[in-house]
Every structure is written in C-alpha cells, then in structure tokens.
C-alpha cells in the first residue's frame, strides 16, 4: 500500500475462510481483556474472521467475570490499571480454571511475560502483534484446552463407570435400581435421590440425565453445601449488573445455564430455609428471576435433587419446608449404604479392583480371603468412594498379584467412624478379637448377616476361649478391682456377657445403644427412637450431642 493510496485503490477486506472447528471448539469462546480499545478492535476483527467467538473487556474486573467454563482462551494485557494481568492469572488459578491464558505485553516487558508464564500463562505475545501469528497462538491454546477438557471428561466418565459398575454389581438391590433408573429416565418428572455420602448419588443423577431425552442438553451439577450462603441465590438464579457490590455485569445462574437439560442439586438438605421458597417457585413455575431483576424467564429444566440428610426429619424439625419436600418427592430413589450390601460386597470389591487394574494397565490383582474378611468388617462410612480409595491404595502398595490384609490401609477418618455403626467389626478384626464385645454384639448383628450364608460364616465372630475371657476379665481394670460394698454379690469374671458394659462411661453406653439400635433398624431414626423409648426429637439431640450426627 503506497502512502497515496486511496480507499478506491485499497484491497477489499479479505474474507479469511473460517477455520473448521470441532463442535466443542465452536462453542468455546475467547475473552480478550485490554485497556486499549484499538487492541480489542484488532483482536475481535482477526479472531472473529478466523471463526472464533470473542468477548472483550476494557478492564480486568469485568474481564474476569466474562471468563467462565466455556472460555477456552483468555487474551490478557499484563499492564492494566486496577486488576492487572498477573492478578487475573492468580484469580483464575484460585478458581482452578481450565482457561488458557495468553498474555499480551509490550516489548519492554519480556521479563514480566516470563514471570507470567511461571505463574501459569500458556504463552505471551508482544504488542503490536502480528494478527496471523496471534491466530496461530490462539489455535494452539484452543487445542490444548480441548485436549485437557477431553481428558477431564474421560477421567470423569471413567470414574463414573467404575462407580456405575459397582452399582450394577450383582444383587437384587442393583438390578432393581437399574430398572428404576431406566423407568425414571423415560419420564421428565423431578427426581429425589437419597443415600449416604459416596453411595453414587451423582452417578445415578448423571445416568438418569444421559438416558433421558435431555441427554444431549447440559447437565449442571451444583453442590448446595459448597455455595457461599450469601451467593446461593445469585449462583442458582443469576443476577443483573449492579444487583450487589461486585456484580459488574449480568450473569446467568445455574438454573438458566441448565435450560434444555438437567439441574442436579446435590446436598439439597444444606439449602438454607429462607432460600427454599425461591427454589419452590422455580419448581412450580420453571421460571428464573435474576437477582436485581423484576423479569421472570421461563426455562425448560428437569430437576434432580439429592442429599444424605433425612428430609422428612428435617421437615419435622422445621429445617425443610414441607411444600418443598413434596415438590421434590415425585420420583424417589434410595441408594443403599455399602455396609448394608454385605451379600454383594465381594462382587463389588472384585469389580472395582478389576476396573482399577484395567485403568492403570496392571495385571489383575486378587484379594486374599483374609483381606476380603478385613474389608467385610469395615463400616465404609464413605461407601463406594471409600472402597475405591482403599483398593487403589492397596494396589499401589501390594507386591505381586495378591492383596493381603497388610496392603489395606484405611484412612484415619474411616477408622474413627468405623467404630460407629458396624458393631460386629470389633469382634472380627484380627487384631481386635475382644470376646467381651463379640458375644454381646452377635445377637444384634447376626440377623443382618444371615441373609448371605457364606458371608455370614465369615462375619460371625469367633468367641474366645474361656481362658482368654478369664484372662481378659482379670486384666480388666474394673473387674479386677477388689474394693466395693460387701453387700453386693461377688462379680463372676467368666460371665463376660454379663459385664460387657463394665469399663464404659454412661455416655459410651448411650452411644453404643443408639448405634446398635440404629444399625438394627437399618438407619431408621424414628424406629430407633421408638425402640429406645424416646422421642424422635430426643434421638436427634442425643445423636448430635454424642457426635453421631454432624
């Protein structure tokens, strides 16, 4: 182009053929943040021509709000007033964002660019940049983001398939469960999934979504327990610009993002009661009203809710609205805890073990019978998730193809909680054969275990010999105490069942009574309260006081 060029002599704008972008790439967006409008104009022009969707911001604070899960690449000026490029990098890292950041720098800021790379930037480009070079960098960043996302999705789906296989493991409970999932998937009603932590609630929720007609739509997973209380409403239903300090622009909430798909509200029991009416309105009308807006927007969303809490009890205690409860309890699935699945436990454990070995390309490992016994005596408060972790650790520490008891390492949390619901474990653990406890416990645990003949035989504790009991009684600090009121009958040291409470504090006895009855009643707190002769309110209070409930 000569200096005397006129518009007439200039070339017409080159229409760079939009690149062929993969499906996910074309949905992915680029965010450019720079305080110089000329830079933003150039980026928008060239990247737009290359087929990318680009959003721009002239300052860091607004730019940061534009970056979300669908942002593949962020082009960020390092030197900006206010929130600069370094701060944006730090905040994205804190968010665990997968967005690839390309920093834009002046030629005098190379050392800063290097520093930015150390802080997690994908690349840097010096300004004024060459547009075609910029497009190449963006393509590379986009590809890297795409691969990382695919890896993450594969990993997630693999983890889920492991959990799913565990759920699908043999047993009546599971074939019934799978059947239920199939039936529920064909409908479009609200679903409630109950069950302890780690039983696979989110896996089942995703499975329902994938099998439903909404399978190709978004699946938005929201953990209500992890949302900051002040932001729950805004997170769920969105906000408008200026609705509160820091709301620099309009933002969709999770319910709106899930439009056309499924909204999975995990740990719904943690939703504060004052926010429950908002959810109720959403459930009734399927409309969302952003915080700060008077406008209600219709959305097409299926709701799946889950919690480990007993929502019915929460209603009775005034922690959950009854109208919300009934709105949620349309289609209900209750996932059994692992400790109640004794019959199918060996198959579940073997299935998970096989999957982990396959995933890690290792030769198949086998659990020795003593290792299996040890697993069977564990309470599994973390359920399937905990079992997966224990087996993965066992594979890592085992030598050879067999996994023995010494390869099994339970986490501290599990060990602490293990003593809670699974009473029979005291008696069967090889290192804890205490006849005093075992004899008492059998009468409670046996009916539960007899459902599986083979299993029952491995789990029924062996009663120690009379000598052992005697020795144990004599060494017992309370039983061997010779002091006391002579009008009381002499203790009979060999009658261990008679003295199974000796040595325990009243609090421990109360705790054991509640735990044993709870287990016998399969976790039903109302029945437990009746058996113990106390009110339901009292059992909750006691469970909290004794730290059985959080």
């Amino acid at each position: 182009m000569s200096p005397s060029s006129t518009p007439a002599t200039m070339k017409t704008p080159t229409t760079t053929a939009p690149m062929k972008l993969a499906g996910a790439q074309s949905k992915a967006k680029i965010v450019a943040i720079d305080d110089d409008p000329m830079t933003l104009r150039l980026l928008k022009n060239h990247l737009g021509k290359a087929g990318y969707t680009i959003e721009t911001a002239e300052n860091g604070a607004i730019g940061l709000q534009l970056i979300d899960e669908s942002t593949a690449v962020a082009l960020v000026d390092l030197r900006m007033p206010g929130l600069d490029g370094f701060e944006i990098l730090r905040q994205l890292r804190a968010r665990k964002s997968s967005t690839k950041v390309i920093v834009l720098t002046g030629s005098s800021e190379i050392s800063d660019a290097v520093q930015a790379m150390r802080e997690g930037a994908f690349h840097f480009v010096t300004k004024p940049f060459n547009p075609s070079q910029m497009v190449v960098f963006v393509e590379k960043a986009m590809e890297t983001w795409q691969v990382a996302n695919e890896n993450r999705d594969l990993k997630e789906s693999h983890c889920q398939s492991v959990a799913l296989r565990a759920i699908e493991a043999t047993g009546d409970v599971n074939s019934r469960l799978i059947q239920q999932v199939e039936q529920i998937s064909a409908l479009d009603s609200t679903v409630f999934i109950g069950g302890e932590t780690g039983t696979g609630k989110s896996t089942i929720a995703r499975m329902i979504h994938q099998k439903s007609k909404r399978g190709k739509g978004p699946f938005v997973n929201v953990n209500c327990a992890s949302l900051p209380r002040d932001l729950i409403q805004s997170e769920l239903f969105g906000h408008t610009k200026g609705a509160f300090t820091g709301a620099l622009m309009d933002r969709k909430g999770h319910a709106e993002v899930a439009d056309g798909g499924t909204l999975f509200l995990d740990e719904i029991g943690d939703l504060p009661i004052d926010l429950q009416p908002k959810l109720l309105t959403f459930l009734q009308d399927r409309t969302v009203q952003r915080l700060g807006s008077t406008e209600a927007k219709k959305v097409d969303v299926r709701l799946i809710a889950a919690t480990h809490c007993d929502l019915a009890e929460m209603c009775r205690e005034g922690q959950c609205r009854q109208d919300l409860y009934f709105r949620l309890m349309v289609l209900n699935i209750e996932l059994p805890a692992l400790r109640f699945r004794t019959g199918e436990f060996p198959d579940i454990a073997r299935g998970i073990l096989t999957r982990i070995c396959e995933r890690q390309s290792l030769s198949l490992r086998v659990l020795t019978s003593s290792a299996m016994k040890m697993l069977l005596t564990h309470d599994w408060p973390g359920n399937i998730r905990e079992l997966e972790n224990v087996l993965e650790r066992a594979i890592a520490f085992s030598r050879g193809t067999q996994i023995g008891p010494s390869d099994l390492h339970f986490s501290n949390v599990s060990l602490n909680r293990r003593s809670a619901p699974r009473i029979e474990s005291h008696s069967t653990r090889e290192s804890h054969s205490t006849a005093l406890v075992a004899v008492t416990v059998d009468s409670v645990s046996q009916p539960l275990l007899q459902s599986d003949g083979e299993l029952a035989s491995t789990m029924i504790p062996s009663v120690s010999s009379t000598e052992d009991q005697s020795a144990s009684a004599q060494s017992h600090p309370v039983l061997s105490d010779s002091g006391g009121d002579p009008s009381w009958p002499e203790p009979k040291p060999n009658d261990s069942a008679r003295y199974d409470l000796v040595g325990k504090t009243l609090e421990q006895i109360e705790r054991d009574a509640i735990l044993q009855t709870l287990e016998f009643q399969r976790g039903n707190k109302a029945k437990t309260a009746r058996v113990l002769g106390i009110s339901e309110k009292s059992i909750y209070n006691k469970m909290r006081r004794l730290k059985i409930l959080p």
């Binding site: 200096p3 006129t6 200039m10 070339k11 704008p13 150039l42 030629s107 004024p128 060459n130 075609s132």
Partner: protein, 119 residues
C-alpha cells in the same frame, strides 16, 4: 519520507480499509485525553504515569507501523522507568509533531476528517 511502514500496516489490517478507518478514528478520538494525561504527568513528574501513557502510545503507533514514533515513545517510556525526565519535554514536543504527520498520512489514506476540534 513517510512515517507509516506500509508492509507492517498491511500485515496488521490485512487490506481491510474499514478496519483501518476504525483504528484511525479510535486513535484520533483518544488523542486529546492521552495528550492531557501525558502533559499532566510530565508537569507533576509522575514517572509511572508518563511511562504508562508512553507505553500505550508505543503500541498504538505500532499498529500503524509508525516505527519512528514507536521508537520515540519507547525512549520516553524507558527514560520514565529510569526516573529520568530530563529530555522528556523535548521528546514529547517531537512526538506531538510526529503525531500530526501521522494523522496527515491517515487522513490521506482514509479520507477521514481527522481534524482537531478548535473549541
């Protein structure tokens, strides 16, 4: 002699006259504010601000391929970074003259009325 390196400009605007016009208008519209900020920063010996404004100008000149102006802006930026404002006033005067020349070239290329408001 021209200020604009047309090979650089061409690689940046890719022959898009509309884009060039947009950039020229943006540059022109931001000039009064940029110039005011630079004058104030020099008067108050605010080296940080002098450096920041010079840095912005360095990049903007770069988009037009105006290498001599880019170099001048860079000289101001580096000098301010080194807390040395000795020659800044003189360089700023040279830069303003250069900007006038750049606007003239842009005017002739785009036929845009890039005229200063006399008010």
């Amino acid at each position: 002699m021209t200020l604009i390196d047309h090979s650089v400009l061409d690689s940046i605007i890719d022959g898009d006259s509309e884009l060039l016009a947009d950039l020229a208008i943006m540059f022109f519209q931001m000039l009064p504010d940029t110039d005011a900020r630079l004058r104030l920063a020099v008067q108050s010996s605010n080296t940080k601000e002098v450096s920041l404004v010079a840095h912005q100008l360095h990049i903007r000149f770069g988009y037009f391929g105006a290498k001599p102006l880019q170099e001048l802006a860079r000289k101001i930026e580096l000098s301010a970074d080194g807390n040395d404002l000795t020659n800044i006033a003189q360089w700023c005067t040279e830069m303003r003259a250069g900007i006038e020349a750049l606007l003239n070239e842009l005017r002739s290329m785009t036929r845009l009325p890039l005229e200063k408001n006399e008010d």
